[in-house]
C-alpha cells in the first residue's frame, strides 16, 4: 500500500522535474533552434548548412559516446547507399594531383571564392607523404597506406568509398563525407585514391 503523502511527494518531484529538466531531445531541438536564430548567411554559406541530416542529428545526440551496434549498422547502411561509384569503373587517378588536393585547405568557407579551388585539406588531420611535416593528428597516419594493405581492388574500393562517405564504414566518424556532400568531384577523389594506392606515390615510399 503506497501512502498518500508519498504519492504527493512523488508527483511533486515529477512535476518539478518536468518544469526544470527538458528531455535530452527537447534540449537538442532547442539548441538547434537557437543556433538557427544566431547565424546569418554569408556568401556561399547559407543557413541551410544548419539543417542537420539524420546522420548529423543522431551523431550529435551521442555527445562523444560511440554509437550502439544497432545505430552504427543503421547509419553505415544508409551512408553506404549514397556512394556513387565511378561509371567508368576506374578508381585510381593521378597521385600528383592527389597531393595538391590533400594540401589545399580552401573550399566551402564563407571567405572562400565559390569559383576558387576546393581541396580535401587532408593534411589538416592526417600524416600522409613523408615530406610534409606539417600534418595534423585528428585522423590516423596514412603513410604506407597501399604498401601495408596491399595494392588490390578491395583496398582501392575501400579508399574511394571512405573518402566519398566515411560514415559508411565508421558511423559518426570525424571525417567529412567528401563525395556525399559534393565537396570533392569524382576525379578529385580518384586522385586522392592514387595518392594512397599508387605504388609510385610518396605515401608508399
Amino acid at each position: 500500500m503506497i501512502s498518500k503523502p508519498f504519492l504527493w511527494v512523488a508527483f511533486g518531484l515529477a512535476a518539478a522535474g518536468c518544469a526544470t529538466m527538458p528531455s535530452d531531445a527537447e534540449r537538442q531541438a532547442q539548441a538547434a533552434a537557437m543556433l538557427k536564430a544566431s547565424f546569418k548567411e554569408n556568401g556561399q554559406a547559407k543557413l541551410d548548412r544548419l539543417d542537420q541530416d539524420e546522420t548529423q542529428r543522431a551523431c550529435s545526440a551521442l555527445a562523444g559516446k560511440p554509437p550502439s551496434k544497432e545505430l552504427a549498422e543503421t547509419l553505415e547502411k544508409a551512408n553506404l547507399a549514397t556512394i556513387q561509384w565511378p561509371a567508368d569503373g576506374k578508381l585510381v587517378g593521378d597521385w600528383k594531383n592527389g597531393e595538391r588536393i590533400a594540401q589545399e585547405g580552401r573550399g566551402k568557407q564563407f571567405t572562400d571564392d565559390p569559383a576558387g579551388p576546393v581541396g580535401g585539406n587532408c593534411y589538416a588531420c592526417h600524416q600522409i607523404s613523408k615530406q610534409e611535416i606539417s600534418y595534423g593528428t585528428i585522423g590516423p597516419s596514412l603513410q604506407q597506406f597501399g604498401k601495408l594493405r596491399g595494392y588490390n581492388d578491395e583496398i582501392r574500393k575501400y579508399a574511394y568509398g571512405k573518402i566519398y562517405n566515411a560514415d559508411a564504414y565508421s558511423a559518426c566518424s570525424n571525417m567529412p563525407r567528401f563525395g556525399q556532400h559534393q565537396i570533392l568531384t569524382e576525379q578529385q577523389i580518384k586522385d586522392l585514391v592514387a595518392l594512397l594506392m599508387d605504388p609510385q606515390s610518396p605515401v608508399n615510399q
Binding site: 546569418k40 544548419l50 542537420q52 562523444g64 566551402k108 593528428t137
Partner: protein, 272 residues
C-alpha cells in the same frame, strides 16, 4: 601618439614573426621549435596598447547620451571592472537574460549611451582599415581580471539553461563538412597541421583554452576577443556567419567559461 604606438607594436610583431626559426624537423622536433617560438612571444605583448586605449574609452562620455561605461554594471556594480570578467557570463536582471562581456557592452551602449543596436554591433572585429573600440574595451576589462580564478555561477536557472544549450551546441554537427566544436576539441593531444588543440570536454583543456582569450594575434596584428574566437571557429567549420553577441554565442561561452572555473584568468595573452 596613439597611432605611432600601434605602428611600433606592429613593427615588434613583424620582427618577432621574422625571427622565428623555421621548423625543419631536424635538430629538435617541429613541436619543440614551435614551443620556442611561443616562449619568445611572451617577452612583449602588444595587447597592452589595446588595454590602454580601452581604459580611455571606458572612461569617456560616449554615444548620443554622452554616458561613460563607468555607469555600466558588469555584475559587480556600475563601473566596477576589477575581477568582473572572471564571473562572466551571468544573468543580468535589468536585461532579463544571460550575457557575456561583449553582449553586456552592447547592452550598455544601447540602453545607457543611446546607440542603436546596429551601431553598437557595427564594428566588433578590426580590419587593416579600421580599429575596433570593442576589442580595446574588452582588452581593458579582461586585463582587470588577470590572475583572478574563474568563478562563473550556475545558481540562476537561466544560467543552467544556457549552459545546457551551450553543451548541446558544442556537439552539434552540421554544415558541408559535418564539423562540430567537438570534432577538433573533443580529444586529448590532437592538432590541426601543427596547431595544438585543447580538449574542451575536460576541465584542464577548457581552463587552458578559455583563460587565454582574448589574445593579441601576431599573424593578424590585432587583439581578438572570445566572440571572435567563436566566429572564426565556425567559419572554419563551414557554418554560416555567427552573429555578434548572439544567443548561441553566449550559450557556448557560458558552457566553456563555467568549465574553466577554478583556473586563474590569464589573458589578454599573445598567440601566433
Amino acid at each position: 601618439m596613439q597611432r605611432s604606438l600601434v605602428r611600433a607594436a606592429c613593427a615588434v610583431a613583424v620582427a618577432l614573426a621574422v625571427a622565428v626559426p623555421v621548423a625543419t624537423g631536424q635538430g629538435g622536433s617541429a613541436a619543440d621549435e614551435i614551443e620556442k617560438y611561443r616562449q619568445a612571444l611572451q617577452d612583449g605583448n602588444p595587447a597592452e596598447l589595446w588595454e590602454v586605449r580601452g581604459e580611455a574609452l571606458w572612461k569617456e562620455p560616449r554615444g548620443p547620451k554622452k554616458v561613460a561605461f563607468t555607469q555600466c554594471d558588469l555584475g559587480q556594480g556600475p563601473g566596477v571592472v576589477k575581477g568582473a570578467y572572471a564571473k562572466l557570463p551571468r544573468h543580468f536582471a535589468d536585461a532579463d537574460r544571460v550575457q557575456d562581456l561583449e553582449s553586456r557592452l552592447v547592452w550598455c551602449m544601447v540602453n545607457q549611451q543611446g546607440y542603436t543596436e546596429a551601431d553598437a554591433k557595427r564594428n566588433p572585429f578590426a580590419n587593416p582599415d579600421r580599429k575596433s573600440d570593442i576589442e580595446a574595451l574588452v582588452a581593458y576589462v579582461t586585463s582587470e581580471s588577470k590572475g583572478v580564478p574563474m568563478a562563473v555561477s550556475l545558481d540562476h536557472p537561466k544560467m543552467r539553461e544556457m549552459y545546457a544549450l551551450g553543451e548541446k551546441m558544442f556537439w552539434f554537427r552540421g554544415g558541408s563538412h559535418d564539423f562540430a566544436c567537438a570534432t577538433c576539441h573533443g580529444e586529448d593531444a590532437k592538432r590541426i597541421r601543427l596547431q595544438d588543440l585543447p580538449n574542451l570536454t575536460k576541465k584542464e583543456g577548457a581552463q587552458k583554452g578559455y583563460t587565454t582569450w582574448p589574445a593579441y594575434r601576431v599573424s593578424q596584428g590585432e587583439l581578438r576577443t572570445f566572440q571572435w574566437r567563436l566566429y572564426d571557429c565556425f567559419r572554419q567549420q563551414r557554418f554560416p556567419e555567427l552573429e555578434y553577441a548572439s544567443p548561441a554565442s553566449v550559450a557556448l561561452t557560458t558552457f566553456l567559461a563555467y568549465n574553466a572555473n577554478g583556473a586563474p584568468f590569464a589573458a589578454p595573452s599573445i598567440k601566433r
